[in-house]
């Protein structure tokens, strides 16, 4: 009964992880690849340390809502594991695919010692159980090895590309990089993307 | 959600006006502080078991356990606790007598304890504002007289003890304490909390003060200001009950303020106190009562020796000639017991 001709991607993380930038880069790319793109973002006070998510929707002919209807996620890019699980609650379905940055970020209540962060393995297990497939990437570590944790969102984009779930044209993507980043950071981001791709493909 | 220790302390003691501002719950954690004669819970703590509740003199106490821990069984009386010796004393040093409240016994004993090395610091009450006591730790016996006068508002003595005991520099501490403060210190001996245990090991001497009641600072300030002007207060004294007044010493002489005017200023917590003689001390000291009348009696002290440590200190004072002793008139001990019993019974 359901007819769906769009691809629904959710990039989820914590304020400050670069989730808006990641969705913008992908969005820009797909505009150039001829798609109708709609991106919805959670903004507001939640940006300071709160959960944030971007809904990135690709459609062939008409623009769609910036909010994905319940249960209709196709791909979840979790910049933080617990945020990935949180998204499944509203947008997950047995066919959803999930790519997880395994590095955890503690909520204030956990940092304060009031609550506990759930066991990381059980979080990943729950994501795995409730999705069609799950990939894990220690994107933050790769980024830190490259010198700056800020690169982890681009590394995650590389991992996304490696899964072939999205029709990413790499040359066009690097053109977007060239227009998005200051010249001296273009190469670094390109490298981050490639490292992200490699981290995923090398394991399969 | 179950109440935390702090919640219970607030509900059962502070909100019931049973808090004497002794300071026991201050400086063992950052959640509570003493400020201008008030114990104030600043932040919420969700610990269900907290020492703050256990050591508060306003919470239920196992008196029997405390007595058997601190005193010789045969010395214990039901009215005034342990009594090894009851004497009338005063300082041999006239300077001390002049500066001190009555006979100067407390100042003499603290000074001696410091110079003999019984303690290396004493927690005494000075003043931080007019009539408002401030606790100070003193290590130099020559400073004792700065703190010699009676205070009429409870000082957060135990808070200062807590702070001092948790420092490494000090190993042996003496405290001059009101009955509630002495009880708080005594309750620490029963604590399971390793920090409290470590602290209380350093407590080597408690000199207790007889106490009928104390005043609330804000209220007292107001009444005194109305009568003599706050800035004119040089000192105060409460003579025996038949006079029924508070004496205020001013640059121009003495003013008597009727206790009727001061009754509303009494710290409400004192109404639930059953201990007049500071039973959980090594030595307790109060003003003497003599046939010769108040003019003579006011330069002497009633002194109750309660423990072996107290006995030793009194003996040293005697052998060094630092204290003068006077024969205890017949019936004085009975009168004291009656008065103390009266306080216990009034409450019941």
């Amino acid at each position: 009964m359901e007819t769906k001709n769009e691809i629904n991607v959710i990039i989820a993380g914590v304020g400050g992880q670069g989730n808006v930038l990641a969705s913008q880069i992908l969005g820009q790319l797909f505009v150039e690849q001829g798609y109708k793109v709609t991106i919805g973002e959670t903004y507001g006070v939640s940006q300071r340390g709160g959960s944030v998510m971007s809904h990135l929707r690709l459609s062939g002919n008409e623009q769609v809502s910036p909010i994905i209807p319940k249960g209709l996620g196709d791909l979840i890019v979790a910049l933080e594991p617990m945020e990935g699980l949180r998204i499944l609650g509203q947008f997950g379905n047995p066919d959803v695919q999930v790519i997880v940055n395994t590095r955890t970020l503690m909520p204030m209540s956990v940092m304060a010692g009031e609550t506990q962060y759930p066991d990381i393995n059980s979080v990943l297990q729950l994501i795995q159980t409730n999705s069609k497939s799950m990939w894990t990437v220690d994107a933050t570590q790769i980024a830190l090895d490259m010198g700056n944790s800020i690169l982890s969102n681009i590394i995650m984009l590389g991992a996304v590309a490696a899964t072939n779930i999205l029709p990413i044209d790499q040359d066009k993507l690097f053109n977007v990089f060239a227009r998005t980043f200051p010249p001296k950071y273009v190469e670094l981001n390109r490298k981050a993307f490639e490292n992200g791709m490699e981290s995923l493909s090398s394991r399969t | 959600m179950k109440n935390s220790a702090k919640d219970n302390l607030k509900q059962q003691v502070i909100d019931q006006q049973k808090c004497t501002q002794c300071g026991a719950c201050v400086n063992i954690c950052p959640y509570t502080e003493y400020y201008e004669d008030r114990i104030i819970p600043l932040y919420h703590c969700d610990l269900q078991e907290g020492s703050c509740y256990d050591i508060c003199p306003g919470t239920p106490t196992d008196f029997k356990a405390l007595q058997s821990l601190m005193f010789d069984k045969q010395d214990i009386t039901s009215e005034i606790g342990s009594v090894k010796e009851f004497c009338i004393t005063r300082s041999s040093d006239q300077d001390i007598r002049i500066n001190a409240q009555h006979g100067g016994t407390v100042s003499t004993l603290i000074s001696l304890a410091l110079s003999e090395g019984v303690i290396d610091a004493a927690v005494l009450a000075g003043e931080q504002d007019v009539l408002l006591p401030k606790q100070t730790a003193v290590t130099d016996s020559s400073r004792i007289l700065e703190f010699a006068k009676s205070k009429f508002v409870v000082s957060p003595t135990v808070a200062e003890f807590n702070a001092l005991a948790s420092k490494n520099e000090v190993q042996k501490i003496g405290v001059v304490a009101t009955p509630c403060q002495a009880l708080a210190l005594a309750k620490m001996r029963l604590s399971n909390d390793p920090r409290i245990q470590a602290n209380i090991k350093k407590l080597k001497l408690v000199i207790g003060l007889f106490c009928g009641w104390t005043f609330s600072w804000e209220a007292l300030k107001k009444v005194i200001d109305e009568h003599v002007g706050l800035k004119n207060v040089l000192g105060m004294d409460i003579p025996p009950s038949k006079y029924h007044n508070l004496k205020v010493f001013t640059p121009t002489g003495e003013t008597d303020i009727s206790l009727d005017d001061l009754m509303p200023c009494i710290n409400p917590a004192c109404n639930s106190c059953i201990d007049m003689t500071a039973e959980f001390s090594d030595i307790s000291v109060g003003s003497a009562r003599l046939k010769e009348g108040w003019e003579t009696a006011k330069s002497w002290n009633h002194t109750l020796v309660r423990t072996i440590a107290g006995e030793k200190l009194i003996q040293t004072a005697k052998s060094h000639g630092l204290l003068e002793f006077k024969d205890v008139p017949e019936g004085n001990l009975e009168k004291l017991k009656r008065a103390a019993l009266n306080k216990k019974e009034n409450l019941e």
């Binding site: 909010i67 304060a112 759930p118 | 954690c29 950052p30």
Partner: protein, 636 residues
């Protein structure tokens, strides 16, 4: 290359709704753009300010929204084009001017963009600003797509100039803050020489009624124009079982619902882009196609009420059912979502939508419930507001008279929550804390014996607190005003304000110091660094007790997010592992649990406090709160 100023007509850009609006203004040849920051509207002026010098236009962050609208109107009074942008609360501030300007009219083009925030995602209220268009009898455009967000602004300028009336464009968060494809038009090359024609003054007296007659005529003319607007259209079967009548982002949700449920043969969508004045003939023509109409619109029942008014008493609609917020078929409060429309359509069309099995739903619900603690928002590491609220809390408790704090919105508004130890007790309009305090400080004569504190930020002080403080001093109100001066309009994205010495386009401009304004009012402020907790606490207590009248304490410390960019941390902070007794301390994790700084964290393995060096800004405030002085700072 910034696409906002791209010359490539016909090219497709990915624009945020707000960027599309900004691009529209450039295509329309705007000369002056003014706004006061406030989400979801802030990005419009941000985008324009970045290209202002290059495009030869004036772009400013005004002191408040009323002034912004006045500045933008100046262009339109001289034949140029002006744009003002604001959030819903801002329009309330500007409304006094707007509801005079509607009568006096303008010459050039004036477009007022108002971005509503249904659900109050980044606001203290939710309101439907479209009512101002009805009240002011002004043309109103409601873009539904990113393309329309751009195109309608161009159209609104044309119409404004034609009718000599300000036009409103109403966006919502889900359009302003979302992104989508926008095909570019050409940038304007029009050059207009401004001229103020003294023979045609903008004055409504002696007869505002006559002016109102003129407005009515323009409004009628506008209705005729809207009858043929391309922004109003119907799509669907000729006689649908039901029709979704929608405006704004409601179109997205309606289309998503129809597509998800595959009911395009049973359901029509009547999309209205010009919602004031309503194109009555256009609407009548389409509404007649069905007997069940569902209104899908964000905000209040604006279309719903107006269309029902239009159909009332007309026999052709006597059997029509109107469903929406008035009938509570859709929630009358909060934000619309596609799910709400899907659910309602399922109910009305008697169908089911099962994107996933019930078992799956239950499984993920349980997984989420037990494993995803909320990420509450809080002050950043090093935020001076944290220190300020810590001091306020301690000062009020010590003072002991149950004092309270009157405030408003800004980062410091988080003082109402756990981040600020629940210290703020009121939060309404910008500067309202000071205004309420001006009254509250007079209530002692009626027996109010609690001390009064008002707080406001630096940007808020300029925006809305100055008249209140002036009033307070004139009437001898007794309270303490704390101005939390962090040299930033931080909440909305660091826009300059009159105290900072630079403007929206980065030019050096004169700055006006808050302390100087206070002095001019007749109040000598004290200035204190909130990082010094002890002195701040003592100063607050002293000022609360000291004397009658209004007292001002400026708590001055640069926003940590700004400071971290310009200078190295003053201190290197660490936890002395010897001194921190951890869970054995008995402090019950006081520093992490109570102080709540993201840079000071509980190390669950070592069972000790720890500084997260990646987050810590070296402010050193936490070194003042440990009773064992276990948090130490070294000059770095």
């Amino acid at each position: 290359m910034n696409m906002i100023v791209s010359n490539k007509t016909g090219e497709t850009a990915l624009f945020m709704g707000n960027e599309a609006i900004a691009r529209g203004a450039l295509e329309a040849g705007v000369s002056i753009c003014a706004a006061y920051p406030g989400n979801p509207s802030s990005d419009i002026i941000k985008a324009l300010a970045e290209v202002g010098p290059e495009m030869g236009i004036h772009v400013e962050w005004s002191v408040n929204e009323k002034v912004a609208l006045e500045v933008a109107a100046s262009a339109a009074m001289t034949g140029l084009r002006g744009l003002a942008a604001m959030k819903q609360n801002g329009l309330n501030v500007a409304s006094d001017f707007l509801l005079n300007l509607n009568l006096s009219g303008i010459r050039g083009g004036l477009v007022l963009v108002v971005c509503d925030d249904p659900g109050g995602i980044s606001s203290t209220n939710e309101q439907d600003s479209r009512l101002f268009a009805k009240m002011g009898e002004l043309p109103l455009f409601e873009p539904s797509t990113f393309q329309e967000a751009k195109d309608m602004v161009v159209e609104a300028f044309e119409l404004s100039e034609k009718l000599e009336l300000p036009c409103l464009v109403r966006s919502v968060t889900r359009l302003s803050h979302a992104r989508g494809n926008v095909e570019l038009g050409s940038l304007s090359t029009n050059e207009v020489k401004p001229f103020f024609d003294r023979s045609k003054p903008f004055i409504n007296i002696p007869s505002p009624t006559n002016a109102h007659k003129g407005l009515r005529q323009k409004f009628s003319k506008c209705r005729e124009i809207f009858e043929n607007s391309p922004y109003n259209y119907y799509s669907g079967p000729e006689n649908p079982e039901l029709m979704l009548v929608t405006s704004g982002a409601g179109l997205f949700y309606s289309q998503d619902a129809v597509r998800c449920l595959d009911v395009s043969k049973r359901t029509g969508i009547l999309k209205v882009g010009t919602t004031s004045p309503l194109p009555e003939q256009f609407l009548s023509k389409h509404l007649i196609k069905t007997q069940t109409i569902i209104f899908v619109e964000d905000g209040g029942p604006f279309l719903e009420g107006n269309i029902r008014e239009l159909c009332a008493g007309r026999p052709e609609f006597s059997n029509t059912k109107f469903l929406g917020k008035l009938t509570e078929d859709l929630p009358p409060v909060g934000e619309l979502t596609p799910d709400l429309i899907i659910d309602l359509l399922c109910k009305k069309l008697d169908i089911e939508f099962i994107p996933r099995s019930a078992e799956y739903s239950e499984a993920v619900k349980a997984a989420v419930q037990n494993n995803t603690p909320e990420r509450g928002s809080g002050f950043c590491a090093g935020c001076p507001h944290r220190a300020t609220y810590w001091a306020i809390k301690k000062a009020l408790i010590r003072d002991g008279r149950d004092g309270f704090v009157l405030g408003d919105i800004g980062c410091y508004g988080m003082g109402a929550g756990p981040a600020g130890y629940q210290q703020m007790n009121t939060m309404q309009a910008m500067g309202s804390g000071v205004g309420i305090a001006s009254g509250m400080g007079l209530l002692e004569q009626f027996g109010l014996d609690q001390p009064v504190i008002a707080v406001c930020g630096d940007s808020t002080f300029y925006h809305g607190a100055i008249p209140a403080l002036l009033n307070a001093n004139q009437h001898g109100s007794n309270f303490l005003l704390l101005i939390l001066d962090n040299d930033a309009t931080a909440m909305t994205g660091f826009q300059p304000h009159p105290g900072l010495g630079k403007d929206a386009m980065g030019r050096q401009v004169p700055s006006v110091k808050i302390a100087d304004i206070c002095r001019a009012i007749g109040l000598e402020p004290e200035i204190q660094d909130p990082y010094d907790l002890d002195t701040t606490i003592k100063t607050i207590i002293r000022l609360l007790r000291e004397k009658q009248g209004a007292k001002v304490l400026i708590l001055k410390r640069e926003c940590a997010l700004v400071a971290v960019k310009s200078k190295a941390p003053a201190f290197s902070i660490s936890v002395d592992a010897e001194k921190c007794l951890g869970d054995d301390c008995g402090c019950n994790r006081f520093c992490t649990r109570t102080f709540r700084c993201p840079g000071l964290i509980w190390d669950a393995e070592k069972k000790q406090a720890q500084i997260d060096q990646a987050v810590c800004t070296g402010c050193g405030v936490c070194t003042q709160i440990c009773q064992h002085q276990a948090i130490i700072s070294e000059a770095s």
